[in-house]
Symmetry: C2
Subunit: 233 residues, 2 copies
Protein backbone atom coordinates (compact mmCIF):
# COMPACT_ATOMS: atom_id res chain seq x y z
CA UNK A 1 0.00 0.00 0.00
CA UNK A 2 2.99 2.27 -0.43
CA UNK A 3 1.92 5.52 -2.06
CA UNK A 4 5.03 6.68 -3.83
CA UNK A 5 7.49 4.21 -5.24
CA UNK A 6 8.71 6.26 -8.12
CA UNK A 7 11.56 8.17 -6.55
CA UNK A 8 13.87 5.23 -6.13
CA UNK A 9 14.17 2.78 -8.96
CA UNK A 10 16.50 0.31 -7.34
CA UNK A 11 14.97 -2.78 -8.81
CA UNK A 12 11.42 -3.92 -8.33
CA UNK A 13 9.83 -1.59 -5.81
CA UNK A 14 6.41 -3.19 -6.13
CA UNK A 15 4.60 -3.58 -2.81
CA UNK A 16 4.49 -7.17 -1.68
CA UNK A 17 1.06 -8.72 -1.70
CA UNK A 18 0.23 -12.01 -0.07
CA UNK A 19 -0.77 -15.02 -2.10
CA UNK A 20 -4.47 -14.52 -1.61
CA UNK A 21 -4.28 -10.78 -2.10
CA UNK A 22 -2.58 -11.35 -5.44
CA UNK A 23 -5.24 -13.82 -6.50
CA UNK A 24 -7.89 -11.28 -5.61
CA UNK A 25 -6.08 -8.57 -7.57
CA UNK A 26 -5.75 -10.76 -10.64
CA UNK A 27 -9.36 -11.86 -10.62
CA UNK A 28 -10.63 -8.34 -9.97
CA UNK A 29 -8.48 -6.88 -12.70
CA UNK A 30 -9.92 -9.08 -15.37
CA UNK A 31 -13.50 -8.78 -14.20
CA UNK A 32 -13.43 -5.01 -13.79
CA UNK A 33 -12.50 -4.56 -17.41
CA UNK A 34 -14.70 -7.32 -18.73
CA UNK A 35 -17.84 -6.41 -16.84
CA UNK A 36 -17.20 -2.91 -15.58
CA UNK A 37 -16.70 -1.72 -12.05
CA UNK A 38 -20.22 -1.78 -10.72
CA UNK A 39 -21.28 -4.90 -12.58
CA UNK A 40 -18.52 -6.86 -10.89
CA UNK A 41 -19.57 -8.11 -7.48
CA UNK A 42 -17.14 -8.96 -4.73
CA UNK A 43 -18.75 -12.36 -4.49
CA UNK A 44 -17.91 -13.06 -8.12
CA UNK A 45 -14.34 -11.88 -7.63
CA UNK A 46 -13.73 -13.97 -4.54
CA UNK A 47 -15.41 -16.96 -6.12
CA UNK A 48 -13.20 -16.77 -9.20
CA UNK A 49 -10.14 -16.19 -7.03
CA UNK A 50 -11.02 -19.14 -4.85
CA UNK A 51 -10.92 -17.15 -1.64
CA UNK A 52 -13.46 -16.14 0.95
CA UNK A 53 -15.66 -13.10 0.58
CA UNK A 54 -14.36 -11.42 3.69
CA UNK A 55 -10.78 -11.70 2.49
CA UNK A 56 -11.24 -8.75 0.18
CA UNK A 57 -12.28 -6.60 3.13
CA UNK A 58 -9.33 -7.80 5.13
CA UNK A 59 -6.52 -7.26 2.62
CA UNK A 60 -8.14 -4.20 1.07
CA UNK A 61 -10.66 -2.34 3.11
CA UNK A 62 -13.40 -1.80 0.52
CA UNK A 63 -14.36 -2.42 -3.06
CA UNK A 64 -13.19 1.02 -4.08
CA UNK A 65 -9.88 0.49 -2.34
CA UNK A 66 -9.54 -2.79 -4.20
CA UNK A 67 -10.06 -0.96 -7.46
CA UNK A 68 -7.39 1.53 -6.49
CA UNK A 69 -4.98 -1.27 -5.68
CA UNK A 70 -5.68 -2.94 -9.00
CA UNK A 71 -5.01 0.33 -10.73
CA UNK A 72 -1.94 1.34 -8.73
CA UNK A 73 -0.26 -1.99 -9.36
CA UNK A 74 -0.13 -1.23 -13.08
CA UNK A 75 0.34 2.50 -12.80
CA UNK A 76 3.73 2.50 -11.09
CA UNK A 77 5.64 0.49 -13.71
CA UNK A 78 4.04 2.46 -16.49
CA UNK A 79 4.91 5.81 -14.95
CA UNK A 80 8.44 4.64 -14.28
CA UNK A 81 8.85 3.67 -17.92
CA UNK A 82 7.47 7.03 -19.06
CA UNK A 83 10.02 8.85 -16.95
CA UNK A 84 12.80 6.60 -18.14
CA UNK A 85 12.04 7.32 -21.76
CA UNK A 86 11.83 11.03 -21.08
CA UNK A 87 15.18 10.89 -19.33
CA UNK A 88 16.68 9.13 -22.31
CA UNK A 89 15.27 11.71 -24.69
CA UNK A 90 16.53 14.64 -22.70
CA UNK A 91 19.94 13.08 -22.31
CA UNK A 92 20.05 12.62 -26.04
CA UNK A 93 19.54 16.33 -26.71
CA UNK A 94 21.40 17.49 -23.62
CA UNK A 95 23.52 19.94 -25.57
CA UNK A 96 20.90 22.13 -27.23
CA UNK A 97 18.34 24.27 -25.49
CA UNK A 98 15.07 24.03 -27.38
CA UNK A 99 15.91 21.11 -29.60
CA UNK A 100 13.15 18.92 -28.18
CA UNK A 101 10.70 17.63 -30.76
CA UNK A 102 7.01 17.51 -29.89
CA UNK A 103 6.56 14.12 -31.49
CA UNK A 104 9.44 12.69 -29.49
CA UNK A 105 7.97 13.96 -26.23
CA UNK A 106 4.55 12.56 -27.04
CA UNK A 107 6.00 9.21 -28.01
CA UNK A 108 7.70 9.00 -24.63
CA UNK A 109 4.35 8.33 -23.01
CA UNK A 110 2.68 6.73 -26.01
CA UNK A 111 5.27 3.97 -26.34
CA UNK A 112 4.81 2.64 -22.80
CA UNK A 113 1.04 2.73 -23.19
CA UNK A 114 1.37 0.97 -26.52
CA UNK A 115 3.58 -1.68 -25.00
CA UNK A 116 1.03 -2.29 -22.27
CA UNK A 117 -1.78 -2.41 -24.76
CA UNK A 118 -0.03 -5.03 -26.87
CA UNK A 119 0.81 -7.29 -23.96
CA UNK A 120 -2.49 -8.60 -22.62
CA UNK A 121 -0.90 -11.66 -21.07
CA UNK A 122 0.22 -9.76 -18.02
CA UNK A 123 -2.93 -7.73 -17.76
CA UNK A 124 -1.34 -4.75 -19.41
CA UNK A 125 -4.23 -3.87 -21.65
CA UNK A 126 -6.40 -3.76 -18.59
CA UNK A 127 -4.63 -0.80 -17.13
CA UNK A 128 -5.13 1.42 -20.13
CA UNK A 129 -8.86 0.89 -20.04
CA UNK A 130 -8.99 1.40 -16.31
CA UNK A 131 -7.11 4.65 -16.70
CA UNK A 132 -9.71 6.01 -19.07
CA UNK A 133 -12.40 5.22 -16.54
CA UNK A 134 -10.47 7.08 -13.86
CA UNK A 135 -10.20 10.08 -16.14
CA UNK A 136 -13.92 10.46 -16.53
CA UNK A 137 -15.20 9.17 -13.24
CA UNK A 138 -14.65 10.68 -9.85
CA UNK A 139 -12.29 8.57 -7.82
CA UNK A 140 -11.14 11.14 -5.34
CA UNK A 141 -9.42 8.60 -3.14
CA UNK A 142 -7.49 7.23 -6.08
CA UNK A 143 -6.47 10.69 -7.13
CA UNK A 144 -5.05 11.41 -3.71
CA UNK A 145 -3.15 8.16 -3.75
CA UNK A 146 -1.67 8.89 -7.12
CA UNK A 147 -1.29 12.64 -6.81
CA UNK A 148 2.37 12.44 -5.86
CA UNK A 149 3.60 10.19 -8.64
CA UNK A 150 1.18 11.61 -11.12
CA UNK A 151 2.14 15.16 -10.26
CA UNK A 152 5.81 14.37 -10.73
CA UNK A 153 5.17 12.77 -14.07
CA UNK A 154 3.08 15.69 -15.25
CA UNK A 155 5.54 18.34 -14.15
CA UNK A 156 8.33 16.56 -15.99
CA UNK A 157 6.30 16.33 -19.17
CA UNK A 158 5.08 19.88 -18.81
CA UNK A 159 8.67 21.09 -18.69
CA UNK A 160 9.64 18.99 -21.68
CA UNK A 161 6.64 20.06 -23.70
CA UNK A 162 7.29 23.66 -22.77
CA UNK A 163 10.78 23.36 -24.19
CA UNK A 164 9.40 21.82 -27.36
CA UNK A 165 6.81 24.59 -27.69
CA UNK A 166 8.64 27.79 -26.80
CA UNK A 167 5.92 30.09 -28.10
CA UNK A 168 3.26 28.92 -25.66
CA UNK A 169 2.43 30.18 -22.20
CA UNK A 170 2.68 27.82 -19.27
CA UNK A 171 -1.09 27.66 -19.00
CA UNK A 172 -1.45 26.64 -22.62
CA UNK A 173 1.24 24.00 -22.28
CA UNK A 174 -0.64 22.43 -19.38
CA UNK A 175 -3.87 22.50 -21.34
CA UNK A 176 -2.36 20.78 -24.36
CA UNK A 177 -0.61 18.17 -22.29
CA UNK A 178 -3.93 17.50 -20.62
CA UNK A 179 -5.71 17.19 -23.94
CA UNK A 180 -2.97 15.02 -25.35
CA UNK A 181 -3.16 12.62 -22.44
CA UNK A 182 -6.93 12.47 -22.62
CA UNK A 183 -7.04 11.72 -26.31
CA UNK A 184 -4.42 9.05 -26.06
CA UNK A 185 -5.99 7.17 -23.21
CA UNK A 186 -9.50 7.34 -24.49
CA UNK A 187 -8.33 6.10 -27.83
CA UNK A 188 -6.47 3.21 -26.24
CA UNK A 189 -9.37 2.44 -23.97
CA UNK A 190 -11.49 1.99 -27.07
CA UNK A 191 -14.59 1.19 -25.08
CA UNK A 192 -16.45 0.70 -28.32
CA UNK A 193 -16.55 4.46 -28.57
CA UNK A 194 -16.29 4.22 -32.30
CA UNK A 195 -19.34 2.01 -32.35
CA UNK A 196 -21.29 5.06 -31.32
CA UNK A 197 -20.58 6.47 -34.74
CA UNK A 198 -23.12 4.39 -36.58
CA UNK A 199 -21.41 1.57 -38.44
CA UNK A 200 -17.79 1.86 -37.43
CA UNK A 201 -15.67 1.33 -40.47
CA UNK A 202 -12.78 1.80 -38.09
CA UNK A 203 -11.39 -0.98 -35.97
CA UNK A 204 -9.97 0.57 -32.85
CA UNK A 205 -8.64 -2.74 -31.62
CA UNK A 206 -5.25 -2.62 -33.26
CA UNK A 207 -2.96 -0.54 -31.01
CA UNK A 208 -0.58 0.27 -33.84
CA UNK A 209 -3.46 1.63 -35.84
CA UNK A 210 -4.42 3.83 -32.92
CA UNK A 211 -0.94 5.25 -32.68
CA UNK A 212 -0.82 5.83 -36.40
CA UNK A 213 -3.99 7.89 -36.32
CA UNK A 214 -3.89 9.49 -32.90
CA UNK A 215 -0.29 10.63 -32.62
CA UNK A 216 -0.39 12.93 -35.66
CA UNK A 217 -3.64 14.37 -34.35
CA UNK A 218 -2.23 15.05 -30.91
CA UNK A 219 1.07 16.43 -32.14
CA UNK A 220 -0.63 18.78 -34.55
CA UNK A 221 -2.98 19.91 -31.81
CA UNK A 222 -0.10 20.66 -29.51
CA UNK A 223 1.64 22.61 -32.23
CA UNK A 224 -1.40 24.79 -32.93
CA UNK A 225 -1.03 28.54 -32.84
CA UNK A 226 -1.54 29.99 -29.34
CA UNK A 227 -4.94 31.60 -29.13
CA UNK A 228 -7.18 33.09 -31.76
CA UNK A 229 -4.99 32.80 -34.82
CA UNK A 230 -7.13 31.57 -37.67
CA UNK A 231 -4.18 29.88 -39.42
CA UNK A 232 -4.28 29.98 -43.19
CA UNK A 233 -6.28 27.21 -44.80
Amino acid sequence: MKASFLSDDDGERVPKYSETATRILDAAEGLFVELGLEATSLRLITQQAGVNLAAVNYHFRSKDALFEAVFARRFAPWARECLRQLDALEAQVAGGEASLDVTSVVMCYVRPALALSKDPLRGGAVFVRLFSRVLVENHRQLRETLSRDWGHLVSRYTAALGRALPGLSDEEVVWRLHLGFSVMFHAFAGNDILKLFGRSAVSARDPDLIVKHVVPFVVAGMRAAPSGSPAAD
Copy 2:
Protein backbone atom coordinates in the same frame (compact mmCIF):
# COMPACT_ATOMS: atom_id res chain seq x y z
CA MET B 1 -40.21 6.88 -25.83
CA LYS B 2 -39.98 7.69 -29.54
CA ALA B 3 -36.58 6.76 -30.87
CA SER B 4 -36.13 9.08 -33.79
CA PHE B 5 -37.51 12.58 -33.73
CA LEU B 6 -34.89 14.30 -35.81
CA SER B 7 -36.22 13.88 -39.30
CA ASP B 8 -39.13 16.28 -38.94
CA ASP B 9 -38.55 19.54 -37.18
CA ASP B 10 -42.10 20.82 -37.24
CA GLY B 11 -42.09 22.36 -33.82
CA GLU B 12 -41.49 20.59 -30.57
CA ARG B 13 -41.29 16.90 -31.33
CA VAL B 14 -40.40 16.01 -27.77
CA PRO B 15 -42.17 12.92 -26.47
CA LYS B 16 -44.89 13.77 -24.00
CA TYR B 17 -44.22 12.69 -20.47
CA SER B 18 -46.80 12.64 -17.75
CA GLU B 19 -46.58 14.99 -14.80
CA THR B 20 -44.99 12.46 -12.48
CA ALA B 21 -42.68 11.13 -15.18
CA THR B 22 -41.41 14.64 -15.77
CA ARG B 23 -40.81 15.18 -12.10
CA ILE B 24 -38.85 11.95 -11.98
CA LEU B 25 -36.80 12.98 -14.99
CA ASP B 26 -35.97 16.37 -13.52
CA ALA B 27 -34.95 14.98 -10.16
CA ALA B 28 -32.92 12.17 -11.71
CA GLU B 29 -31.15 14.52 -14.08
CA GLY B 30 -29.78 16.67 -11.32
CA LEU B 31 -28.87 13.81 -9.04
CA PHE B 32 -27.15 11.75 -11.71
CA VAL B 33 -24.72 14.56 -12.44
CA GLU B 34 -24.28 15.62 -8.85
CA LEU B 35 -23.74 12.18 -7.38
CA GLY B 36 -23.04 9.99 -10.36
CA LEU B 37 -25.15 7.20 -11.77
CA GLU B 38 -24.57 4.43 -9.30
CA ALA B 39 -24.43 6.68 -6.25
CA THR B 40 -27.94 7.92 -6.99
CA SER B 41 -30.57 5.59 -5.61
CA LEU B 42 -34.08 5.36 -6.96
CA ARG B 43 -35.35 6.01 -3.45
CA LEU B 44 -33.53 9.33 -3.36
CA ILE B 45 -34.85 10.29 -6.76
CA THR B 46 -38.45 9.45 -5.97
CA GLN B 47 -38.20 11.11 -2.59
CA GLN B 48 -36.92 14.34 -4.12
CA ALA B 49 -39.50 14.14 -6.87
CA GLY B 50 -42.26 13.56 -4.37
CA VAL B 51 -43.49 10.38 -6.02
CA ASN B 52 -43.62 6.75 -5.06
CA LEU B 53 -40.72 4.41 -5.54
CA ALA B 54 -42.58 2.07 -7.84
CA ALA B 55 -43.51 4.91 -10.13
CA VAL B 56 -40.07 4.95 -11.69
CA ASN B 57 -40.43 1.30 -12.62
CA TYR B 58 -43.85 1.95 -14.06
CA HIS B 59 -43.10 4.96 -16.26
CA PHE B 60 -39.61 3.77 -17.13
CA ARG B 61 -38.91 0.12 -16.80
CA SER B 62 -35.57 0.22 -15.01
CA LYS B 63 -32.95 2.52 -13.62
CA ASP B 64 -30.85 2.20 -16.74
CA ALA B 65 -33.84 3.00 -18.89
CA LEU B 66 -34.47 6.05 -16.75
CA PHE B 67 -30.93 7.18 -17.39
CA GLU B 68 -31.44 6.72 -21.10
CA ALA B 69 -34.61 8.79 -20.97
CA VAL B 70 -32.84 11.53 -19.08
CA PHE B 71 -30.13 11.53 -21.68
CA ALA B 72 -32.36 11.28 -24.71
CA ARG B 73 -34.47 14.22 -23.57
CA ARG B 74 -31.46 16.53 -23.92
CA PHE B 75 -29.84 14.81 -26.84
CA ALA B 76 -32.56 15.44 -29.41
CA PRO B 77 -32.62 19.26 -29.17
CA TRP B 78 -28.84 19.38 -29.16
CA ALA B 79 -28.51 17.17 -32.24
CA ARG B 80 -31.21 19.18 -34.01
CA GLU B 81 -29.31 22.39 -33.33
CA CYS B 82 -26.06 20.84 -34.58
CA LEU B 83 -27.72 19.89 -37.84
CA ARG B 84 -29.33 23.30 -38.16
CA GLN B 85 -26.00 25.05 -37.84
CA LEU B 86 -24.38 22.71 -40.32
CA ASP B 87 -27.21 23.36 -42.74
CA ALA B 88 -26.69 27.08 -42.36
CA LEU B 89 -22.97 26.75 -42.95
CA GLU B 90 -23.36 24.63 -46.06
CA ALA B 91 -26.01 26.97 -47.43
CA GLN B 92 -23.62 29.84 -46.88
CA VAL B 93 -20.93 28.27 -49.06
CA ALA B 94 -23.31 26.57 -51.43
CA GLY B 95 -21.56 27.93 -54.50
CA GLY B 96 -18.01 26.64 -54.01
CA GLU B 97 -16.96 23.02 -53.80
CA ALA B 98 -14.26 22.71 -51.16
CA SER B 99 -14.66 26.07 -49.53
CA LEU B 100 -15.64 24.62 -46.16
CA ASP B 101 -13.42 25.70 -43.31
CA VAL B 102 -12.47 23.15 -40.67
CA THR B 103 -12.95 25.62 -37.87
CA SER B 104 -16.43 26.47 -39.07
CA VAL B 105 -17.43 22.82 -39.18
CA VAL B 106 -16.08 22.20 -35.71
CA MET B 107 -17.83 25.25 -34.33
CA CYS B 108 -21.12 23.91 -35.66
CA TYR B 109 -21.14 21.28 -32.93
CA VAL B 110 -19.13 23.23 -30.39
CA ARG B 111 -21.51 26.17 -30.30
CA PRO B 112 -24.57 24.11 -29.33
CA ALA B 113 -22.58 22.31 -26.67
CA LEU B 114 -21.30 25.64 -25.43
CA ALA B 115 -24.80 27.05 -25.29
CA LEU B 116 -25.97 24.06 -23.26
CA SER B 117 -22.99 24.32 -20.97
CA LYS B 118 -23.66 27.97 -20.24
CA ASP B 119 -27.35 27.50 -19.52
CA PRO B 120 -27.56 25.41 -16.37
CA LEU B 121 -31.02 26.68 -15.52
CA ARG B 122 -32.68 24.24 -17.88
CA GLY B 123 -30.35 21.41 -17.01
CA GLY B 124 -28.27 21.97 -20.10
CA ALA B 125 -24.90 21.55 -18.46
CA VAL B 126 -26.10 18.21 -17.24
CA PHE B 127 -26.32 16.74 -20.68
CA VAL B 128 -22.74 17.50 -21.61
CA ARG B 129 -21.43 15.66 -18.59
CA LEU B 130 -23.79 12.77 -19.14
CA PHE B 131 -22.58 12.52 -22.70
CA SER B 132 -19.00 12.13 -21.59
CA ARG B 133 -20.02 9.30 -19.31
CA VAL B 134 -21.81 7.59 -22.17
CA LEU B 135 -18.71 7.87 -24.29
CA VAL B 136 -16.53 5.99 -21.87
CA GLU B 137 -19.01 3.60 -20.31
CA ASN B 138 -20.83 0.82 -22.02
CA HIS B 139 -24.49 1.69 -22.39
CA ARG B 140 -25.34 -0.65 -25.18
CA GLN B 141 -29.05 -0.07 -24.83
CA LEU B 142 -28.56 3.68 -25.04
CA ARG B 143 -26.37 3.31 -28.08
CA GLU B 144 -29.04 1.34 -29.87
CA THR B 145 -31.64 3.92 -28.98
CA LEU B 146 -29.49 6.72 -30.30
CA SER B 147 -27.85 4.93 -33.19
CA ARG B 148 -30.26 6.32 -35.73
CA ASP B 149 -30.07 9.99 -34.81
CA TRP B 150 -26.42 9.74 -33.91
CA GLY B 151 -25.56 7.99 -37.14
CA HIS B 152 -27.31 10.65 -39.16
CA LEU B 153 -25.49 13.42 -37.32
CA VAL B 154 -22.14 11.73 -37.78
CA SER B 155 -22.60 11.02 -41.47
CA ARG B 156 -23.49 14.64 -42.07
CA TYR B 157 -20.42 15.87 -40.20
CA THR B 158 -18.23 13.28 -41.85
CA ALA B 159 -19.26 14.57 -45.23
CA ALA B 160 -18.69 18.18 -44.24
CA LEU B 161 -15.33 17.45 -42.68
CA GLY B 162 -14.34 15.44 -45.71
CA ARG B 163 -15.05 18.47 -47.91
CA ALA B 164 -13.00 20.66 -45.58
CA LEU B 165 -10.11 18.17 -45.64
CA PRO B 166 -9.85 17.02 -49.27
CA GLY B 167 -6.45 15.36 -48.81
CA LEU B 168 -7.64 12.77 -46.30
CA SER B 169 -9.06 9.32 -46.84
CA ASP B 170 -12.55 8.52 -45.59
CA GLU B 171 -11.12 6.39 -42.83
CA GLU B 172 -8.96 9.20 -41.58
CA VAL B 173 -11.83 11.66 -41.68
CA VAL B 174 -13.90 9.39 -39.46
CA TRP B 175 -11.01 8.98 -37.06
CA ARG B 176 -10.46 12.70 -36.72
CA LEU B 177 -14.12 13.45 -36.30
CA HIS B 178 -14.19 10.81 -33.60
CA LEU B 179 -11.19 12.31 -31.84
CA GLY B 180 -12.59 15.80 -32.18
CA PHE B 181 -15.88 14.82 -30.60
CA SER B 182 -14.15 12.98 -27.79
CA VAL B 183 -11.87 15.84 -26.92
CA MET B 184 -14.66 18.36 -26.94
CA PHE B 185 -17.02 16.42 -24.74
CA HIS B 186 -14.45 15.33 -22.27
CA ALA B 187 -13.24 18.88 -21.96
CA PHE B 188 -16.76 20.12 -21.41
CA ALA B 189 -17.51 17.36 -18.97
CA GLY B 190 -14.58 18.59 -16.93
CA ASN B 191 -15.08 15.95 -14.29
CA ASP B 192 -12.20 17.41 -12.36
CA ILE B 193 -9.97 15.74 -14.88
CA LEU B 194 -7.53 18.59 -14.61
CA LYS B 195 -7.32 18.01 -10.88
CA LEU B 196 -5.52 14.81 -11.73
CA PHE B 197 -2.65 16.92 -12.93
CA GLY B 198 -1.36 17.80 -9.50
CA ARG B 199 -2.32 21.32 -8.57
CA SER B 200 -4.49 22.43 -11.46
CA ALA B 201 -3.53 25.94 -12.38
CA VAL B 202 -6.25 25.63 -14.97
CA SER B 203 -9.87 26.25 -14.21
CA ALA B 204 -11.92 24.12 -16.55
CA ARG B 205 -15.17 25.55 -15.30
CA ASP B 206 -15.47 28.47 -17.67
CA PRO B 207 -16.94 27.12 -20.91
CA ASP B 208 -15.55 30.01 -22.96
CA LEU B 209 -12.09 29.19 -21.69
CA ILE B 210 -12.57 25.60 -22.75
CA VAL B 211 -13.54 26.62 -26.24
CA LYS B 212 -10.64 29.01 -26.46
CA HIS B 213 -8.14 26.26 -25.64
CA VAL B 214 -9.77 23.18 -27.09
CA VAL B 215 -10.97 24.38 -30.47
CA PRO B 216 -7.51 25.36 -31.76
CA PHE B 217 -6.21 22.02 -30.55
CA VAL B 218 -8.93 20.06 -32.30
CA VAL B 219 -8.79 22.04 -35.52
CA ALA B 220 -5.03 21.70 -35.76
CA GLY B 221 -5.33 17.99 -35.08
CA MET B 222 -7.86 17.57 -37.84
CA ARG B 223 -5.64 19.48 -40.23
CA ALA B 224 -2.62 17.30 -39.51
CA ALA B 225 -0.81 15.65 -42.40
CA PRO B 226 -2.31 12.25 -43.31
CA SER B 227 -0.06 9.50 -42.03
CA GLY B 228 3.63 9.45 -41.31
CA SER B 229 4.61 12.91 -42.48
CA PRO B 230 6.94 14.40 -39.89
CA ALA B 231 5.87 17.98 -40.66
CA ALA B 232 8.59 20.57 -40.36
CA ASP B 233 9.13 21.89 -36.86
